[in-house]
Symmetry: C2
Subunit: 241 residues, 2 copies
């Protein structure tokens, strides 16, 4: 942190340090704009810019009329992604396990594969696919969005069916799921997501692209979107002896 750095960064760095090393615990008040200008000898612009950066980093929250406060360490609810695949656990049991009431809705649609989805399912051209959109809620608050695509000729999922039903339905077609590949990365939430998941600005989402394979053929692909700072994806791998 050279002294030639912009002054607002000096303020940001100093406050951030106090937050991460714990000398400013969650809930502690941050000096107001006016106090910061005096304390650090900076202008008001620098002071408010520093507060905005810290806010957009999710470290503090501002309450109009009151002040800025260190944000409560987000409750990192583990979401056991594995349960989603587990043929024995009911849908949403990862949420229930946290003591929250799990609910979910889904919408089944028949549509054409977009180029992106066609490529992921190794379909040639715009073949018909079944799209299922899920919203998972814990205690009524949405915690996870998922969109699943499968070739339409696999038959429609039954109304009350769990996603795991896919494996059973495929088995009826003589197709056995042998491998699941997931790609995880972060990105900025897109318009419908930030509304549905009620995301504050500055929060990124975890995007999971999952594909079920039967031999060398993909038979289902889905996108799972989770607020990245509130939930953990938990992966459990058994080590083969």
């Amino acid at each position: 942190m050279a002294s030639s750095d912009p002054v607002y960064l000096r303020v940001v760095a100093d406050i951030r340090r106090q937050i991460v090393d714990g000398s400013l615990p969650p809930g502690a008040p941050i000096p107001s704009r006016a106090q910061l200008t005096r304390k650090y000898g900076v202008g008001e612009t620098a002071a408010r810019h520093a507060l905005r950066v810290l806010t957009s980093e999710g470290l503090i929250v501002g309450r109009v009329g009151s002040g800025h406060y260190v944000r409560a360490r987000p409750v990192l609810l583990p979401l056991h992604r594995w349960r989603f695949h587990d043929p024995y656990a009911p849908l949403g049991s990862d949420i229930t396990a946290q003591g929250a009431r799990a609910t979910w809705e889904r919408r089944v649609e028949r549509t054409e594969a977009t180029p992106d989805i066609a490529q992921r399912l190794r379909l040639d051209g715009p073949a018909p696919v079944t799209r299922v959109r899920y919203v998972f809620r814990g205690d009524g608050r949405p915690v996870q969005l998922a969109t699943s695509y499968e070739p339409a000729d696999l038959g429609e999922p039954a109304a009350e069916e769990n996603p795991r039903g896919l494996i059973a339905r495929l088995a009826a077609f003589g197709v056995k799921v042998t491998e699941i590949v997931e790609q995880v990365y972060t990105r900025v939430p897109q318009p419908p997501e930030s509304d549905v998941l009620a995301l504050p600005t500055g929060v990124h989402v975890l995007h999971v692209e999952r594909t079920h394979w039967a031999g060398d053929r993909p038979v289902e692909t889905s996108d799972i979107v989770v607020p990245g700072d509130r939930f953990r994806l938990v992966y459990t791998h058994a080590v083969q002896p």
Copy 2:
């Protein structure tokens, strides 16, 4: 997007929409501050605030003296986390597989377990632990940070040893790793990380907390930090018949 929203959000929403729907492709120039004030009929403050928000979201980059541009869609290099465990693949082979030259450094230290680490390793009190810090590079650019902790009485890792060596070393103590549990979430990079990984502001990181279990006992825990928008973690799970 009600009309009572702050005007800068109107600008943000409009530009963001054009970026995500592709009418502003990667590399396309964003109107300058002066142009935005004219185009949207807003003040300069609102225009620059809008650009700052979009920048902190990682959607655009500003080049001093030139302008703001839609950020090149990040090259999402898959990082096969699984390779990290694979006893047959050499360390860094996930990076090599992308056509990049993989290098890595590590620093081995003996230290006291912090309360957090002691809890993760189920140690009572501040027991001595071995801490190993890794920096992984692809073509010289850092792509991943990792910090590994294990109880000190397991013996020091050999100088050229791969992380997988842990499993072999544990076997020598009669301890067999049976399960690996990983928790994945996003967070804001902390001071040393943003420097080492050369992260622009607004980029979040993927944080992976991994613990190796031998029966019901944790024998190693590590924190892996990856720039969340540039790399994908890839998980491959074989489905048991």
